[in-house]
Structure formats: structure tokens, C-alpha cells
């Protein structure tokens, strides 16, 4: 990929978006048959599938906990989801993101209801165009809801970046690769908790607070779309019944 001009003369971004504009967001819930819950989430060209199995018993009994369900999470990229083919062995990046995505879900799952069980979350990145971990969090949260897991709130996530000196919402791969900073944020809006926060890049104190505000603004739009998708899903299920 060659470096595009990230901020054009008219102040818009290389794909024509305003700095605070999301890419098109598409959400489908309940797309899989054999999983307890599932969701397919797209942020522009990024396409992520999340599936939930459980709560269930597992053979590795020794990792279970007596007073709550454990969450197990795997963030995984299909080999052809990236520009260069990804080798099938788990990368260090995937191992880190599996942890980071799991920890973004822990604060909202009411795990005490299912002691001695595991809730398994499998994230598959089908196509990667920036923001795969944030799309993963949103998809995982919706898959948990689809599986009927009780939750304190939905968690939704979005990244803010700094490109050519400008803070921009929902960066794509070109902006991530050639920009100065990438800051993914996950939030449970109704309970006011930020459950994932990473900064990959360098920001001043002022830039950071501005960036965080921009992320929360974008997240609230994703939140609305997510709730809408859930509403549609449940109504459809009801009608089908």
C-alpha cells in the first residue's frame, strides 16, 4: 500500500470522510446456527465475526472458578484477511488482543450467575482494514447478548487516530499505517465505564483528552446502531415465533 495524502486540502480524509465521521457500520446478529450467539460487524472494509459458546462445562476443570463463570476469548485472523498472508500460528499480537478483548468484556458480563462454567468468545477477523479489535469488541458484546448472557451494558468500541496532525475517528488501515497514533477505546456507555484503552503512538496531554472525547462520541453512535440491531433481531425472532 502506498502512502495516500491522509488529510486533503478541503480538510477531509483520504476517503472523503470528515475527521469525526465513522465509516459505514453494518451489524448482523445471529448469523451462525451452531453457536449459542453470534454477530457479524463491519466498519467499512473491516469485517469481523464473533461467536459465543456457553455457558458450558469444559474438560480443563482446573481453570474454572467456584463463584463465577470464566470468560475465554480468542481473537484470530483468517490467513487471507490481511494484505500479506497471515501465517496460521498464533501471533504475539493475536495473543495480546485476545487478552485485551476479553478484559473489555469482563466488566459487563454478569458472570456470577453461572459458577463453574466457561463462556467462550471466538472472534474471527474475515477482512482487516483497520479497527479489527474495536469491531471485535462490538461483535463479541452483541454475540454475548445474542447468546442470552446477562450483561450490565453493551460494550462498543471505536478507534481514534492522529493523522497528519489531525485527530480523526475510526481510522482505516492506511490511516493506521501512515498516521502518528492509534487509540482504540471500548466503552459501556450506560454505566460510564471505559473497558479498553490503548494508545499506540505519542500524544500530548491535551491531544489525549480531545481524542478520548472524540472516541466516546463515535462510540455512542455505534451503541445506537447496536441496540437497533438487537431490537430488530428480537422482534424478528418474535415474529417468527
Amino acid at each position: 500500500m502506498e502512502k495516500p495524502r491522509l488529510i486533503r486540502e478541503d480538510g477531509l480524509r483520504h476517503d472523503g470522510r470528515r475527521p469525526d465521521e465513522l465509516r459505514p457500520v453494518r451489524i448482523s446478529i445471529g448469523v451462525l446456527n451452531k453457536a449459542s450467539g453470534s454477530a457479524l460487524v463491519e466498519y467499512g472494509g473491516t469485517k469481523v465475526l464473533a461467536a459465543v459458546h456457553g455457558p458450558r462445562e469444559i474438560s480443563q476443570r482446573h481453570i474454572l472458578l467456584p463463584d463465577r463463570a470464566i470468560i475465554r476469548c480468542r481473537y484470530h485472523m483468517l490467513s487471507f484477511s490481511t494484505h500479506e498472508r497471515k501465517s496460521p500460528a498464533p501471533s504475539r499480537r493475536e495473543i495480546e488482543l485476545s487478552k485485551v478483548v476479553r478484559e473489555s468484556l469482563e466488566p459487563v458480563v454478569i458472570s456470577e450467575v453461572f459458577p463453574r462454567t466457561a463462556i467462550d468468545v471466538f472472534v474471527e477477523v474475515i477482512n482487516a482494514d483497520g479497527g479489527t479489535r474495536t469491531a471485535a469488541v462490538t461483535a463479541a458484546s452483541l454475540a454475548l447478548a445474542d447468546a442470552g448472557i446477562p450483561m450490565r451494558d453493551l460494550v462498543v468500541a471505536i478507534a481514534v487516530g492522529k493523522v497528519s496532525g489531525t485527530l480523526v475517528l475510526d481510522i482505516d488501515e492506511a490511516e493506521d499505517m501512515y498516521g502518528e497514533a492509534d487509540m482504540p477505546v471500548a466503552v459501556a456507555p450506560s454505566i460510564g465505564l471505559i473497558t479498553l484503552l490503548q494508545l499506540n503512538g505519542v500524544l500530548s496531554r491535551e491531544e489525549f483528552s480531545e481524542a478520548l472525547k472524540l472516541a466516546l462520541k463515535g462510540a455512542s453512535q455505534i451503541y445506537e446502531k447496536s441496540r437497533e440491531a438487537l431490537r430488530d433481531r428480537y422482534m424478528k425472532v418474535k415474529v417468527e415465533e
Binding site: 448482523s28 448469523v31 459458546h53 480468542r74 490467513s79 487471507f80 498472508r85 496460521p88 482487516a128
Partner: protein, 288 residues
């Protein structure tokens, strides 16, 4: 070590008996006959970053296959030809019984059966895939991911593989004077050169009855199955008996006849799905 598998999610005895009795009468759930496939959906170009891809639904079974082209060194014994590498993974999303981790023996067998059929039939014209003869050639990676498991993963994977290959285009390459290769993925020159099309047809056996395209419940009752690769010119391009049972000579010959007949028409169906513009199918979902 390979070991006798535990039955996954056990089909209750009563249900199993019902399934067997119906098959013996030639009837199956949703009313299809013994040699009918479930409905097939194909969405080609499902994965933007792949050089070719297809999402396939076979009933409730969902498979995505993607092709990546990389510049690499040829095998020493075929210095002027491209190379093919086929992998398959059964994603844990697809079934509560699938574990994350490297491919197990079933996924490896599936990939190798599909790989052999393509290879033996010379389905891809490898001689057209040298870039710098003797030094740099196209390596074709076909990666198959099972996303939802409702039975007959081999046929669904073979359909996805053929569709993804038919969807694959070669990017522009430039070779400088010292032989370095530069790929421009944004400029697409030509489709992947295909000599032959091939699909597998899986014929299952229960109590001497043969039928095709078993769903997951039916796989719980079958004794064994024969995976038969069928070419577009009605030849047998590979066979794999799979499962713990056996077949008589007569059963094998009958299974072949079913496969040859079904396979050729299946290839035609796939060709039309791949080449015609997609009607009524959204790339926003898993092809539903």
C-alpha cells in the same frame, strides 16, 4: 496418533432410529431425496483482501475459502511451475465440539483430499504461473475455514474452493533487470488459468442405503462415507473412504455412479453462481 473418535453431540437414540428408518424409505428431512443436495448459496469476492474468495452455504453449513497469491521459489523438480498449498481449519465458532488449535486429522484429511483432486487433475495450469522461470513463481495458498458445521464439510469446502479459484485474478507483476519481482495488487491482469473444474461428492452409507450430502444429524448415524472427486469431463479425480465402516464392491460402484452424475451437474451450478451477477445475496451477512 489417530484414535477412535468419541461421538460428538450424540443424536438421541429415538431420533437416530427415525432418521435411519426414513432414509431406508428414501425420505429425508425437508423432503429431499437420497441424491439431492441441500440449497447452495455462493458469494464470491466475499473477502476484499484475498486474491479470490467465496462464502458458501450448503444448508446450514457455512464455509469461507480464500486464495492468496505470493511470489516464491518453485519446487526443485518443477522449476517452471507455480505451486499449490491447501489448508483447512475447523473454527471453534462452527461447533461446540471444535477446539481452537492447529488443524486436527479431519481438517488435514479434508485439505489433502481437495488438494490431491486439484493436483492430479492439473485443474490449475501451473505452467502459466512462472514469473521468472526457474526462480520466482506464484505460490497459490488456498485456505478453507469452516464457520458453521451442519454436516458434509468436504463437499461444502470443495465447492468453496472451486468458487474461490474461479474468482481469483492474477495481479500485475514487474520484473526488473536483476530479477526482482514487484507486485501491484491493485491492477488485476487475468483470471487464474483453470484447465479443469472439480468438486467432491460425498456418498454416505447406512444399512446398505447410499445417499449424498449428509447433514450433521445424518452424519451421527452413518457407518462410513466415500468422498469422490468428479471432474467437469466426468472422470474420477480422487477417492477417499472415510469413517470407521466398510463397503462392498457393489456399493462402491453404485456410489461412483451417483457421484459422477451429481458432480457434473454440481459443477454447472457453481459455474453459473460464480459467473452470473449475485442476485439477492448480501455480502453483509454470512450469505443468508
Amino acid at each position: 496418533m489417530s484414535h477412535t473418535p468419541s461421538p460428538g453431540i450424540i443424536t438421541p437414540k429415538l431420533k437416530a432410529n427415525t432418521i435411519v428408518n426414513m432414509i431406508k424409505k428414501g425420505i429425508r428431512s425437508s423432503g429431499r431425496g437420497l441424491t439431492d443436495y441441500r440449497p447452495i448459496d455462493v458469494v464470491v469476492g466475499y473477502v476484499q483482501n484475498a486474491d479470490g474468495s467465496a462464502l458458501v452455504r450448503l444448508g446450514n453449513t457455512v464455509v469461507v475459502a480464500g486464495v492468496k497469491l505470493e511470489v516464491g521459489s518453485p519446487y526443485p523438480d518443477t522449476p517452471n511451475e507455480g505451486a499449490l498449498i491447501v489448508n483447512a481449519e475447523f473454527m471453534p465458532a462452527a461447533s461446540p465440539t471444535f477446539e481452537p488449535g492447529p488443524p486436527d486429522e479431519n481438517a488435514i484429511e479434508l485439505a489433502r483430499v481437495i488438494d490431491r483432486a486439484l493436483r492430479e487433475l492439473k485443474a490449475i495450469d501451473m505452467s502459466k504461473l512462472a514469473i521468472v522461470p526457474g526462480r520466482r513463481v506464484w505460490i497459490i495458498y488456498v485456505d478453507i475455514y469452516v464457520l458453521d458445521h451442519d454436516g458434509n464439510l468436504v463437499d461444502a469446502s470443495s465447492i468453496a474452493t472451486l468458487s474461490a479459484l474461479l474468482n481469483t485474478t492474477l495481479p500485475k507483476v514487474e520484473v526488473d533487470e536483476s530479477g526482482n519481482v514487484r507486485v501491484e495488487k491493485n491492477i488485476r491482469m487475468s483470471p487464474l488459468p483453470i484447465n479443469h473444474k472439480v468438486v467432491t461428492v460425498t456418498v454416505a452409507k447406512v444399512e446398505n442405503v447410499l445417499f449424498i450430502d449428509p447433514d450433521l444429524d445424518e452424519e451421527g448415524v452413518i457407518e462410513t462415507k466415500l468422498v469422490i472427486a468428479v471432474s467437469d469431463d466426468s472422470r474420477i479425480a480422487g477417492i477417499q473412504k472415510s469413517g470407521s465402516g466398510g463397503l462392498t464392491e457393489a456399493e462402491i460402484l453404485a456410489a461412483l455412479d451417483i457421484a459422477l452424475k451429481t458432480g457434473v451437474s454440481l459443477i454447472k451450478t457453481i459455474e453459473s453462481r460464480v459467473l452470473e451477477p449475485t442476485l439477492g445475496l448480501s455480502t453483509n451477512t454470512l450469505g443468508q
